[in-house]
Amino acid sequence: MDLSQYAELFLAESREHLSACNQLLLEWERNPAATEPVGGLFRAVHTIKGMAATMGYGRVADLAHRMENLLDQLRRGGKAPTDAVIQLLFRATDALEKSVTLAVAGREREADLTAILADIDRLGTKETPAPPPAPGPAPGPASPDRRRRKIARTNSATG
């Protein structure tokens, strides 16, 4: 079966899901107590994983799989994500987007995912086992200065 005929479709649909991921992450960052974003993120990353595996893009599928596992833990844990979790998921989404583009261009080997995969695994270990939900009041409101966070996120891309 000639898979190259599906590459454009893979790229277009992956980009749609990646864009949805960024929107959902912004939503989750604004309202960490919301439960819908994590479900949507899980489905989007799961779909990218299935498509990438079908195309034979192993690195893309592997990154999506690790993100999916982390999101599944977060979903089951049912607690509001920390800022570190949100920032890691933003970085992972960026890395996934880059690796999708490289894979379709036939340059998947150039996608260096070592650091992001290690960070996902480290955080995943911390998140397991998920503690029972806190009986106290809901977590405090999100920082009002989201723009500052986004800038900080961009600046910390090298760190």
Binding site: M1, Y6, L9, F10, E13, G40, F42, R43, H46, T47, K49, G50, M51, A53, T54, M55, G56, H65
Partner: protein, 120 residues
């Protein structure tokens, strides 16, 4: 007469690929659904000989869609399309009434073998 198929998956990429595999083997894909709710509605309208069903879909997932379809038609022939690592969900889907499963990434020969098993 060729067998009719309803293809259910939230990814147009997967629907296109499954449709191509089945069409090349002489099956007639009569409908597509991208959510579980759509799958149930289209099954009622189209009464296909076979359904391919993704597990993770928005709105209503594939397993709940299997339950609803089997409630309408206990003889429905449904083939689950799962990702790797979803064994527990596949078992649940079979218990809900699905006849067999294939695991992504798809190999056309595996899909067609499973389809033949389901159609008996």
């Amino acid at each position: 007469m060729s067998h009719t198929v309803l293809v259910c998956d939230d990814a147009i990429f997967m629907r296109t690929m499954i449709t191509d595999i089945l069409a090349q083997a002489g099956f007639e894909v009569v409908g597509e659904a991208e959510t579980g709710t759509q799958a149930v509605e289209k099954y009622r309208q189209l009464k296909p000989d076979l359904v391919t069903m993704d597990i993770v879909m928005p709105d209503m997932g594939g397993i709940d869609a299997v339950r609803e379809i089997v409630k309408q038609d206990p003889d429905a022939k449904i083939l689950m399309c799962s990702a790797m690592g979803q064994q527990a969900l596949v078992v649940e889907a079979i218990q809900a009434g699905a006849k067999d499963f294939v695991v992504k990434p798809f190999q056309p020969s595996r899909v067609l073998e499973a389809v033949q098993r389901v159609l008996g």
